[in-house]
């Protein structure tokens, strides 16, 4: 038992956590991210990479079914936990880690897992996959091959270049073909981006038709929460509004930086954000933000690699074409100014303009590759929480 125990002990020092954020529970997600950093744990990039599934908030029906699928795709040993409020984060992670280290519980879990799941981790499954079009983590399943419910995209009569065999294994329809943006005949894959993706807006799903890694058509929606989202708490202390701006802007800039593949800069933005969340002196944060703006602004490599990628301004539309990089720098500058005491009163993001932005999003990413689309989406100030509330109210 000695070796097995010490391996388990070692494994628990470096737990990978997959985060699912329900629209409205951004604050809890940020708290988890901060806690992971403190513990030296890691945010997982996909279910295959995850030990613990942390669901922040109360997901609605659709998002909950996505969580269930993601859970079924985690390799194990695994554990899951739901966190509703920030103060529970640490204890929730502790209890999840305990479960992870409990060999007996893990063995029971492994035995209880279906050997042939409809979600399809098992290649012997002969379940009909048509109709299984829940958005989940695309890629780990058949979703790429599923064209059965896309009117107008059914080119199955055309020559197909399938990725597997001509017989359509496991009941999966073969990939169909369609001309891409250059008019070349390409396989098309139907892939939902989100709602469980690193550095992604909570609850957002963008259903894409992919030609290779180029997005042909896209459709965006937001999955609602089950309950009333709790936004950042109204901070009674002086500088509450400024603090909110710092938190929100740093979070968004960190996303863009992470997607630009610059981890050190993204971590700096996140640390400033987390310091603002726990009430650090805004003046200190302002200085740190200005230094971050200088570092990021100076990088020629970043300027070159993000050149010409347009930002979706949407609600705040000024008419000037702005790049993703400029937008991200603006966010950081605005945060620095807020931390310095400037209090521009921002119009609260009203639902109508958010819906307009959501509707405008597909047109912006059609014809771009996935990497570019991810940057455009991350730089768009999409407040999925307000959209999720309005969506939930419409359903009622």
């Amino acid at each position: 038992m000695g070796l097995r125990d010490s391996i388990a002990q070692g494994a628990l020092r470096r737990v990978h956590v997959l985060l699912v954020e329900t629209p409205g529970w951004a604050e809890v997600r940020m708290a988890v991210e901060g806690e992971l950093r403190l513990r030296g744990w890691k945010a997982a990039t996909s279910p295959a990479d995850a030990d613990i599934l942390v669901v922040c908030g109360a997901p609605g029906h659709e998002l909950a079914s996505v969580c269930a699928r993601v859970w079924s795709q985690m390799p194990g040993p695994r554990s899951r936990v739901t966190v509703d409020v920030t103060r529970d984060v640490s204890t929730a992670l502790d209890s999840a880690a305990d479960e992870l280290g409990d060999d007996d519980a893990q063995r029971r879990d492994a035995r209880a897992r279906p050997t042939s799941m409809p979600q399809g981790l098992d290649e012997h499954s002969s379940v009909d996959h048509a109709g299984m079009d829940h958005p989940g983590m695309p890629g780990m399943d058949h979703s790429g091959m599923d064209h059965s419910d896309m009117p107008g995209m059914d080119h199955s009569g055309m020559a197909t270049h399938d990725h597997t065999t001509m017989s359509g294994p496991s009941g999966i329809p073969l990939a169909s073909g369609a001309p891409d943006r250059d008019g070349l005949e390409m396989d098309v894959l139907h892939v939902p981006l989100g709602p469980v993706l690193p550095h992604w807006h909570a609850g957002l799903v963008v259903d894409c038709v992919l030609h290779g890694d180029v997005i042909g058509q896209a459709e965006a929606k937001v999955l609602p929460a089950a309950g009333v989202p709790v936004g950042l708490p109204p901070d009674g202390s002086a500088g509450g509004e400024q603090r909110r701006v710092v938190v929100r802007n740093c979070d968004q800039a960190a996303r863009v930086l992470a997607l630009a593949g610059w981890p050190s800069a993204a971590t700096r933005a996140q640390r400033i954000r987390d310091a603002a969340l726990v009430g650090a002196a805004l003046a200190d944060l302002g200085a740190q933000l200005e230094s971050l703006v200088r570092t990021v602004g100076r990088s020629r490599l970043l300027r070159w690699t993000l050149r010409g990628i347009p930002a979706a301004i949407g609600a705040v539309g000024s008419g000037e074409p702005v790049t993703v990089r400029e937008r991200m720098l603006d966010l950081l500058r605005e945060a620095a100014q807020s931390a310095g005491g400037a209090s521009e009163r921002h119009a609260a993001s009203d639902v109508a303009s958010q819906q307009e932005l959501l509707r405008a999003l597909p047109a912006l990413i059609e014809g771009t590759d996935v990497a570019t689309a991810r940057l455009i989406i991350a730089a768009a100030s999409l407040d999925t929480a307000s959209l999720a509330i309005s969506g939930a109210m419409r359903h009622e």
């Binding site: 494994a11 020092r13 737990v15 996909s46 399809g120």
Partner: protein
């Protein structure tokens, strides 16, 4: 230079490679811990914990995966790195001092095209596939400059034999008069290891890309393979450009070790400091600027060699 065509030495070489790769991973852990606000020391052991974690984790399968080719992709990185060690001198020892050592090394990194593509393709997953596409388009950019960067020391040494190239640097290291080739080689090592800033194939924007579907021991092999590739790349750069084991006072094997570790640390530290370079942007620069520069470097060296005869 003495060839050591004995299985026991080959085993020892694999162990040395493993230890160096682990040290590289430890340094990476320290860099990350520092940037996240923990002590650097707390990060040094993170690769060991990661190892324990991946040994404990189960493997997984996806629907209609091409299991055979997928597993070939998972194991391939380590195999390629091990095959590369055959021609890398360690001080005055070398496992197989074949007359075409440089070609051998290059042939091995061409194998990576297949290995990383299979890794992305085998899972039957959209994100893996995109990762595979990204790696191939990046490979189209780095491969030719890499080949010319490797040709340059061979031209100067009149030989494709690694030991000859090391011997030819007696007095003047090749990095001094072929710095462009050295830089291109280093960048290519980072690129074929799919390491940032050339790591978009495993980017977090596509949920880990080529890594998105693998877990457990498969993931361990791929992650270890990447560090091993960086290590062998650094060690080969030492032999090609940094005079091999040449240096004052210390024995030559120790110099090889020190230079290799230094270069490895630079590779590892770069990951965190630079934004990713997108393959589509890289293509333009690689073909219009870097490839002509590599050719000019080779031409320059060739002229010096011919005139100096």
């Amino acid at each position: 230079m003495s060839s050591l065509l004995n299985p026991a030495w080959a085993l020892l070489a694999a162990v040395v490679l493993g230890v160096l790769a682990l040290v590289g991973a430890g340094v990476h852990g320290m860099v990350i811990a520092r940037s996240e606000g923990r002590s650097a020391r707390s990060g040094a052991l993170s690769p060991v914990f990661e190892l324990a974690r991946l040994l404990r984790q189960r493997r997984r399968r996806t629907v209609a995966a091409d299991v055979l080719l997928w597993r070939v992709g998972c194991g391939g990185l380590v195999v390629v790195a091990l095959l590369k060690t055959a021609v890398i001198p360690f001080g005055s020892w070398i496992l197989a001092d074949i007359p075409v050592g440089i070609v051998w090394f290059n042939a091995m990194d061409v194998l990576l095209w297949a290995v990383l593509w299979l890794l992305g393709w085998g899972a039957n997953s959209a994100y893996g596939l995109i990762g595979g596409y990204r790696f191939l388009s990046q490979a189209v950019s780095y491969e030719l400059p890499l080949m010319f960067a490797l040709v340059t020391p061979a031209v100067a040494a009149h030989s494709l034999q690694v030991s000859e190239v090391v011997a030819a640097q007696n007095g003047l290291w090749f990095v001094v008069w072929m710095p462009v080739a050295f830089l291109i080689f280093c960048a290519s090592v980072i690129a074929f290891s799919s390491w940032s800033p050339f790591g978009t194939a495993a980017g977090s924007d596509i949920a880990g890309g080529i890594l998105s579907e693998i877990s457990g021991v498969d993931r361990l092999l791929v992650l270890a393979g990447r560090y091993a590739l960086l290590t062998t790349g650094a060690a080969f750069a030492v032999a090609m450009f940094l005079g091999g084991g040449a240096g004052p006072l210390l024995p030559d094997w120790l110099w090889t070790l020190l230079k290799t570790l230094l270069l490895l640390f630079v590779f590892v530290a770069l990951r965190h400091r630079l934004p990713a370079i997108r393959p589509d942007r890289l293509a333009e620069v690689a073909w219009i600027i870097v490839l002509p520069l590599a050719l000019l470097q080779t031409l320059f060296v060739a002229i010096v060699v011919v005139v100096g005869r």
